[in-house]
Every structure is written in C-alpha cells, then in structure tokens.
C-alpha cells in the first residue's frame, strides 16, 4: 500500500485542462439560471441510447476530467436534481418513465440533451420502437451537445458554456 501511495504522490494528480474542445458540437438554446452556477446537480436518464454516451458520462468523474471541480454533480434522484441529462432516442417503453422523472424535477427543469440521438432520434430515426427525439415530444432542451458519442471535454464545456454571457 505504501508503494502505491508513493507512486500516486510521485505521479501527481492528473486532472487536466479542458479548454480545448469543439465549439461546433455545442448548441445553447436557453441560458442556464445563474443561481445554479457552481452547484449544478444532475440526474441522468438514458432513454434508449447505445450506452456509448453513458460510457463517456462515467468518464467525467475520473481523475482526468473530474467534473466535480466545477461544482457539477450527478445525483441519485430527480428530486435532488436541478437538471436532467438525456441520452438516446426516446423509446416507447421509456417515454412514460421519462415523463415521470421530469415531473419530479423542481422548477426550472433544466434539460440537457447529450448525443446525436437525443434531439431527433439520430441513426434510429424511423424505428417503430421510438417515439422520436426531444423535438418530437415538444421538449426544448437548454443545451444540446452533439457527437456520437460526444467527448467528455465537449460535455463539460457545453454545460459550462450554458452559464456564460
């Protein structure tokens, strides 16, 4: 154990600068409320993604990106959350659970769409099992982060950009 910690100290903490990202992948529709800056609690809802987006969302908590340093946290219940992140096309079977979760988020219900599928169904457009993307169920997200899947840097920057201006 001593040796392991020694290496840890020797190597240093690897949290990175995230300032390089692709601006084209970020679309801001509405500004995030300034009151949430520095303490944004997110509940993630997978509505039918291929799980690549989830893979990248879990990566946000690793020591390279460490999203908590920006005051952004993933919480366990929609009742604790300020914002919902939504991935994937919305399947018929997940439509009702999504609405139930949204009902439980306190106002203003901030919606953040992640990945190409979330807005219009992406590659799954036209499949019988999906009701479509957020566009088709008349939910306007605050932020859309494009990519299949979007990179962790794009996701963090997308959320932070929502507070700017």
């Amino acid at each position: 154990m001593f040796n392991v910690i020694k290496t840890f100290l020797k190597e240093g903490i690897k949290t990175e600068d995230i300032s390089s990202y692709n601006e084209d992948n970020i679309a801001i529709y509405k500004k995030l409320p300034k009151t949430l800056k520095g303490s944004l609690n997110i509940r993630h809802i997978d509505c039918g993604s291929c799980n690549a987006c989830e893979y990248e969302l879990t990566a946000l908590s690793n020591i390279f990106y460490d999203i908590e340093r920006f005051g952004i946290r993933f919480v366990a219940s929609p009742k604790h959350a300020d914002a919902l992140t939504i991935t994937g096309p919305i399947t018929r079977n997940m439509y009702k659970p999504l609405l139930d979760a949204m009902k439980n988020v306190p106002n203003p219900k901030v919606i953040i769409a992640i990945g190409d599928c979330a807005m219009d169904g992406g590659i799954f457009k036209g499949a019988y099992g999906i009701v479509g993307g957020l566009k088709d169920i008349n939910i306007e997200p605050y932020i859309l982060i494009k990519g299949c899947p979007p990179t962790p840097k794009d996701i963090i920057n997308g959320i932070l950009k929502g507070f700017e201006g």
Binding site: V4, M94, F124, G126
Partner: protein, 478 residues
C-alpha cells in the same frame, strides 16, 4: 425433432448459441426457425431447422424461455405449451397485442397509447416484502426494472423486467443497404462497437465470399483486443468502486481513460468507430503508438491487481457472493466470463479461430462461480489481451488492408468474441439489401442468470453482483 433439440441442449458436447427466425412466407409459405449449436467435439456448427406456419414446440429449459417469448412477440408464432407466455420486448402498456413487427406484412404505424397492464409474477410468501428498483437507476447506467422479494436481509426472489430500451433495430435495417447496417451495428451496444461491427462484417463477408487480407485480420484482432481490454479494465474499476475502495477505482479508471485515448490516437475515435469496412479496414494505422503505451499500462494494471488480491477486506465482499453453479450456467447456456467462472468454457476465438490465436489463448475456467471468480477470469482475459496485442504487433504481415469484392445475395452467420462473450449476427441479403438481420448479444443469454445469482445474498451485495456480470441493456433490448 423436439427431442433431438432437447438432447443437444442438455449435452455437454454442444453449446447452444441461439434461436434465429426468418419470415419466408412470401417465398416458401413458412417461417424458418434455426436452432444454432456448436459441436465442441467435432468443431463444427449444428443448425437444426424447423418450418412452421403458426406453432412450434415449446422446450422446457431456461435458455429458451426468452427466445420463445421474443418470437411470440416479434412474429406472432406460438410456442405450444409455454406456461408463461407474457410479452417480452413489446410492453403490453405501449404496444397492441396483435402487433408483430418482424413479420414481412406488419403494419408499423401504431398509435401510442396505453393498452394493457403487464402481469408480474405472483410471489408473496408470508412475512416477505418487496423492493422495486428502476427502470431509472441511481447511477449513470441504463434502464431496467428489478423486483426483489425479501424476508429480512436475504433475497428470496428477483424478477427482472428489461427491454425498456427496445428500439426495433432489426426491423429498421430491413430494406436498407449493407453500409447502413454496418453503421448501425456499431451502435447496438456502444462499449462493444467494434465487436458488433466485426460480427456484422464477418456475416457480410461470408455471404460475399471474401477472404480478407492477412494484414487486415491482424489489425482487426488488435483493435478487438484493445476493446476487450478497455471493457475488462472498466469492469475491474467498477468492482473496486462497488466494494467501496475509491482509491483503486480511480486509479483503474485512469487506465481505462488512457486506453480510450490510445484508441483515439490510433483510429481517431475513442470507440474505434468507423474503422471497419466490408473487405478489410478503412485506413492504415500506426501501431507503434500501441506498442510502447501498452507496456506501461500493463505494469500499472498489475499493481492494482495485486492490491485487489492482497486485500482481505475486499475479498471478504467478493468471495462466495453471487454464486452461479455449473448447472445454472449450463441450463441458461451462459456465455463469456459468466460461463468461464462457473466451469463452462466457450470462447469463439479459441474454438472457432484457433488457427489465428493458437496457444495465445489458454482454456482458463474456474469452478466457484462467484464475484471473485468472474473477476479472476477477467484478469486472465486482460493478460491474454496484452500478450495478443504484443505478439500480433511484432508479427504483423505486410500487404493490402482491404480487398475489393462483388456483392452477392444469400444468408450467413457472423461470429465474434466480444468481452461479454460470443456475439452472433444472422444476416440475409436480398437484391443487395438487408432482408433480415438478427442480432444476438451475449447479454441475452446471461441476463436471466442474475435472478439465480442473487438468491440468498443480501440486497447490499446486488450492485456488486450486477457489476460482476456487467451486462449490456442496449445489446439485450435492441
């Protein structure tokens, strides 16, 4: 015929790989059911076909339960005598009863409204209570519903309900070109982007009759091992996290991130998407980047493996937890590490492609079937992957990276060993377009096993057991 299939299912010499159905009512007036087995002794596939118009025999073995319910949903065919024919993928709340999408004459325009209620199993012994979890879970994971019946702390029964993510991928691909299928195949289960796309192109290449150049074979194998490595390391980190050992978890997550960056440096995509094409690979890649990087990561990984195996407090949690016996694994036709940890060995690379891998893959299996055993199988897989990558990079043949081909019609299977186990794609091509595509992710075999693995354990161990199985929801739900 029923008795013959039954005997194969119970035989130790045959591995059940799946049940594949095609609608041939237009051409032959029947639906064709193909039971796929692998004959381990004689090293060949065994495909048993049954033609039917409406009914087919029900076989009383857990491995076929989901298949039969799936076929009932998708084609409206009836497994005669099935005692529990509830809808599986098409939730009765959201889909009408007479909707069978994979029939060629199906009308896909269905109204979205409530139809009927789903019937859960009736199990309420005296003094028991229920804990309902999901479909939306507390972590960043995919949706699925778990119903626990408990009496005090131990779990008496677990009933799972999946397919919340059912999108209808198989139907979506019908009538579309192979190129679209390839793109879609990378999005069946994101963490297995490459394994699924390889299974798909292998099916296409068998139909077209292409022998891909040896260099492409090697590059594909190296990329596949990188993906396996990433997934196994990711699982290892999550097991660290679920036993409450954040230090180990974060350090191993860092290895995973470095592997993803290695992928990006190689192919330009963190999931290696878009590199595979029919006939070979899309572009030359510089494998020297891998060579040095992989050695450092191996050293780093070995540190944390030692840390894990030397910690009695961790092993206290993982030993004897989530036991899957050999009999259970066999009757569910388990695949991948779940099977290997319970003494049932099937590895597509070892059994079907021994010419390529040879002694690089050992027939490693354990008997205890608990969380520790599944992790030890992963350790073995990780070390094998490191060896394969090193060996293949130093022996890579020169030559072309793809081969030109002529398009043909036909039907074939494509096999690949993903990290979770054997992946199969059955593909039929008609007039140059996909006419039927059946995807079988190993999760479809392994998910029901979780219902037996948790019995007798306490509910606090469920996340750990779930992570040790780490199955794909997306690949299962399709």
């Amino acid at each position: 015929m029923k008795h013959y299939i039954e005997s194969l299912l119970h035989s130790d010499d045959y591995q059940f790989l799946g049940l594949f159905v095609s609608d041939k009512t237009k051409e032959q007036g029947v639906f064709i059911l193909r039971y796929l087995f692998y004959d381990i002794k004689n090293k060949k596939l065994n495909i048993t076909e049954i033609d039917t118009r409406k009914e087919f025999p029900h076989i009383d073995i857990p491995a076929l339960d989901w298949y039969e319910r799936e076929i009932h949903d998708m084609f409206g065919l009836v497994p005669k005598g099935h005692p529990n024919l509830r809808p599986l993928m098409l939730f009765p709340e959201n889909y009408p009863k007479d909707f069978h999408p994979l029939r060629k004459d199906a009308n896909l325009n269905i109204e979205y409204r409530g139809y009927e209620e789903y019937r859960y199993e009736n199990f309420e012994p005296e003094g028991s209570f229920k804990i309902l979890v999901g479909p939306i879970h507390a972590g960043i994971i995919e949706p699925g519903h778990f119903r626990f019946t408990l009496n005090g702390e131990p779990i008496l029964k677990l009933e799972i309900r999946h397919f919340y993510k059912h999108k209808g991928i198989e139907k979506l691909a019908e009538g579309k070109p192979v190129e679209f299928g390839l793109k879609l195949s990378e999005r069946i289960s994101g963490d297995h982007s490459l394994a699924h796309s390889l299974a798909f192109v292998k099916a296409v290449e068998t139909i077209y009759g292409i022998d891909i150049p040896p260099k492409a074979v090697y590059v594909r194998a190296i990329l596949l091992e990188l993906e396996r490595l990433t997934c196994n390391i990711n699982d290892f980190a999550f097991i660290f996290q679920d036993v409450g050992y954040s230090f180990g978890a974060q350090k191993v997550f860092a290895i995973k991130e470095m592997l993803m960056r290695l992928n990006e440096a190689l192919t330009g995509n963190r999931f290696n998407r878009g590199i595979i094409k029919v006939g070979g690979i899309l572009k030359e890649i510089d494998l020297n980047i891998v060579k040095d990087g992989i050695k450092l990561l191996k050293k780093e990984y070995l540190k944390y493996k030692k840390l894990f195996l030397n910690s009695s407090t961790i092993l206290e949690r993982t030993d004897t937890t989530g036991k899957v016996s050999y009999e259970t694994a066999k009757k569910y036709a388990a695949l991948g590490y779940v099977a290997k940890a319970s003494g049932l060995y099937f590895d597509t690379r070892k059994i079907m492609e021994n010419k390529l891998y040879g002694p690089l893959i050992k027939e490693f299996s354990l008997k205890s079937g608990d969380v520790t055993a599944r992790l030890k199988v992963r350790f073995n897989d990780i070390e094998e992957s490191f060896d394969i990558i090193e060996e293949f990079i130093s022996n890579i043949p020169e030559g072309n990276i793809y081969k030109n081909y002529e398009k043909k019609d036909g039907y074939s299977f494509g096999f690949e060993e993903g990290q979770r186990g054997n992946i199969i794609h059955m593909l039929e091509i008609e007039n140059g377009l996909i006419s039927r595509w059946k995807i079988r992710d190993p999760s479809f075999h392994n998910w029901p096993i979780i219902q037996e693995a948790v019995l007798g354990d306490i509910i606090a161990d469920f996340p750990l057991i779930n992570k040790s199985l780490n199955l794909s929801y997306s690949g299962n739900d399709l």
